[in-house]
């Protein structure tokens, strides 16, 4: 049977702007992936635990409140603690260019700027999912 890419689209922190996350979740579904959307106001602990339980291939974090430098690396750390270090972690939202090196150092593999084409995002996921875990 064909393997499905499983994705968790998550909103850590208190930010309630979920337009982008929901549009993305739906687009990923239309692209044939199995998508879990977290809903708003989730903690890094909840997100990491759910990612591991659901055995997702990718966690896509969205934050527009400016708390990304605190929240995104924490999700990565917790994933590693829970044995989910092979899960691809991506970020999006209102994230200044200057913060991108910091986030990448802390395990967020790629950060998408506002208005990044969804097609490109989907292609990125397809190209970078850690396929070895299934093979």
């Amino acid at each position: 049977m064909e393997e499905k890419i499983r994705v968790l689209v998550a909103k850590p922190g208190l930010d309630g702007h979920d337009r982008g996350a929901k549009v993305l979740a739906r687009a990923l579904m239309e692209a044939g992936m199995e998508v879990i959307y977290s809903g708003i106001r989730r903690t890094p602990e909840q997100i990491a635990e759910v990612a591991v339980q659901e055995d997702v291939d990718v966690v896509m974090l969205s934050c527009l409140s400016g708390a990304h430098n605190t929240l995104f690396p924490r999700v990565v750390d917790l994933l590693r603690q829970k044995g989910g270090g092979d899960i691809l972690v991506l970020g999006g939202g209102i994230i200044p260019e200057d913060d991108m090196p910091f986030l990448k150092e802390h395990g967020i593999q790629e950060v998408f700027y506002p208005g990044a084409p969804i097609k490109a995002t989907i292609q990125y996921v397809r190209d970078n999912v850690h396929k070895e875990k299934h093979s």
Binding site: E3, K4, G32, Y37, V52, Q53, E54, K82, H134
Partner: protein, 312 residues
């Protein structure tokens, strides 16, 4: 990661990975079930079905929290429909139980139907065996909730709970044929809303027609959102369990399910064999002859069956 031994210790990552293998029909999944099957048979499996919008997910979250608070280990398998076009799925049940795993000893897994009909995913059955082997006391299975074709859950769960919401009287009429027969308990959820009593009466009058000796399914008013009546539902499930155990019915169900475990694998194996056979060039040529009416489908089907049985 040694999935097999880690599953026995209840390691979340190992359980999650094992279910992925099962879902992807990865050979490692089959090998794993082969190794752990002896440890299964202890968990009590409850199926929860009902229309979309009846609040199944919230109800399950409440049930799981209550059972876990009593010291039990609870596993949840929640199935959502996959898109027949893209094959993708929005697994929306999780959103209503997102925080449950941190506050309680609960494992939850969302599954897409991946083309299966009947409200479950074809891997749901084996996924329950994984959870069973991992030491879960209760396994709660949430079906898609598409309405009428939800009877499969009866083949996976020992107790089946049918969830309705006020105003779903018309649905009940439609469901009469299938779902009403499989329910061991009926829940009128969102009972704080208008019309709950009316729906309750509708359900009771339908059930009344088929009242019989033995277990008569109770109808409960619950508000999962307000956490009211969930304890009664859990008590009813426990009573049903005792009822099944006392007259030996549970053992009979387990025999039926063991058979279904085999049947399911057989179906998969046979389908694989059939598909392999269909791909062969020789078969393709025969199929073309069916299309041009040089032969008929029965002849070719019999020929393929013959080949499969005798060809080895």
């Amino acid at each position: 990661m040694d999935v097999q031994s880690d599953i026995r210790t209840g390691d979340t990552r190992a359980i999650a990975r094992a279910i992925t293998w099962i879902e992807n029909a990865d050979a490692r999944g089959a090998a794993l079930v082969h190794d752990i099957y002896r440890q299964t048979g202890r968990a009590y499996i409850v199926g929860i079905t009902g229309s979309p919008g009846s609040g199944k997910s919230t109800l399950i979250a409440r049930m799981a929290a209550l059972l876990a608070a009593g010291g039990a280990k609870v596993g949840i398998l929640a199935v959502d429909p996959s898109s027949p076009f893209s094959g993708g799925a929005l697994l929306g049940d999780r959103i209503r139980m997102f925080d449950i795993s941190l506050t309680h000893d609960v494992y939850m897994r969302s599954m897409g139907t991946r083309g299966s009909l009947g409200g479950l995913n074809r891997s749901t059955r084996m996924a329950t065996r994984i959870l069973d082997a991992a030491g879960f006391d209760w396994i709660l299975i949430e079906t898609v909730g598409a309405g009428q074709s939800e009877v499969d859950v009866h083949d996976v769960a020992y107790t089946t709970v049918v969830v309705l919401a006020p105003g779903m009287g018309d649905d009940i009429q439609a469901m009469k044929a299938g779902i009403m027969e499989i329910g061991d308990a009926f829940v009128i959820n969102k009972a704080d809303r208008e019309g709950a009593d009316r729906t309750l009466n509708q359900v009771e009058s339908i059930l009344h027609l088929s009242a019989a000796e033995g277990w008569n399914p109770p109808v409960l008013k619950v508000s999962a959102e307000q956490n009211a009546g969930v304890d009664e539902l859990v008590a009813v499930i426990a009573r049903h369990r005792v009822h099944l155990e006392e007259d030996g019915e549970l053992d009979r169900i387990k025999v039926r399910m063991a058979r279904l475990d085999v049947v399911e694998i057989l179906k998969e194996r046979l389908t694989d064999t059939m598909n392999t056979e269909l791909e062969r060039a020789a078969t393709q040529a025969e199929l073309e002859k069916v299309a041009t009416r040089e032969t008929d489908p029965y002849t070719v089907a019999d020929m393929i069956v013959d080949k499969i049985w005798r060809g080895r």
